[in-house]
Amino acid sequence: MVEETRAAGLTRRAVLTAAVAGGAGMAGVTLASPPNASDDAAELIKHLTGKTPTESDRLHLAMPRVFANGYTVPLTLVIDSPMTEADHVRDVRVLAPRNPLITVATFHFVPQRSEPRVSTRIRLAQPQDVLAVAEMNDGTLLMTRTWVEVATNGCA
């Protein structure tokens, strides 16, 4: 019930924001990108790594949308990368911002040796957006997120 109410609130807010942005569209460019949840995630990653990530569809973080048991939530991470010396993923960090301890794990890959793909099981304290942040060989950060609803606190 609570979640439904919150979802309705977000929808209403989104509609209002869109309306305001639309109305102010003629006035200038300051409202071009309204604040959203993405900014919180980007801020957190900047705080942890010192770099600003780019949201990317080269990262795939597959997790169940709803999972009863927060103690052992399956996770699969796949990165689109040729894994050559010139173009590869160095490492991928998985973050659970609403866990008592945010960083879950960091996976390190090696070009021409390992494929940029891994599965594991993690603990989640509450429903949240799980983040994956990949550092590429040129130092750029790519990120993606997946919303996971857990029924029990896996960190208690």
Partner: protein
């Protein structure tokens, strides 16, 4: 507490250049350090904090684990088979204990 037991599932043979799937699991509590016992005392953290896979003595895949990796840490990952040789799997626990397994891969 029982002694952590590691397990791996690796193919015995592979074709040159083939991508092989590896599954690893170690039986381990992964005590987070966030819990208290019945006397209200904090149960100290004891987790597997690192997993490393070497192929021909070269690190080919590794993981830094934190408290939120589930108990009995499980990893499924993929390596490129190049030549016949040894795969080493090493798990490191808080406090310095190390658990290891070895596997010979035949590439032909």
């Amino acid at each position: 507490m029982s002694t952590p037991t590691p397990r791996v599932q690796v193919p015995r043979t592979a074709a040159k250049g083939e991508i092989i799937q590896i599954k690893t699991l170690i039986e381990h509590q992964m005590e987070t350090g966030l819990r208290r016992d019945s006397n209200g005392e904090v149960i100290p953290r004891k987790i597997i904090n690192q997993f490393v896979c070497r192929y021909h003595d070269e690190v080919v895949f590794s993981v830094d684990l934190n408290e939120a990796v589930a108990a009995n840490p499980y990893f499924e990952f993929y390596l490129r088979a190049t030549t016949s040789g040894r795969l080493d799997f090493v798990w490191k626990e808080d406090g310095g204990r190390v658990f290891a397994l070895r596997h010979d891969l035949l590439v032909g």
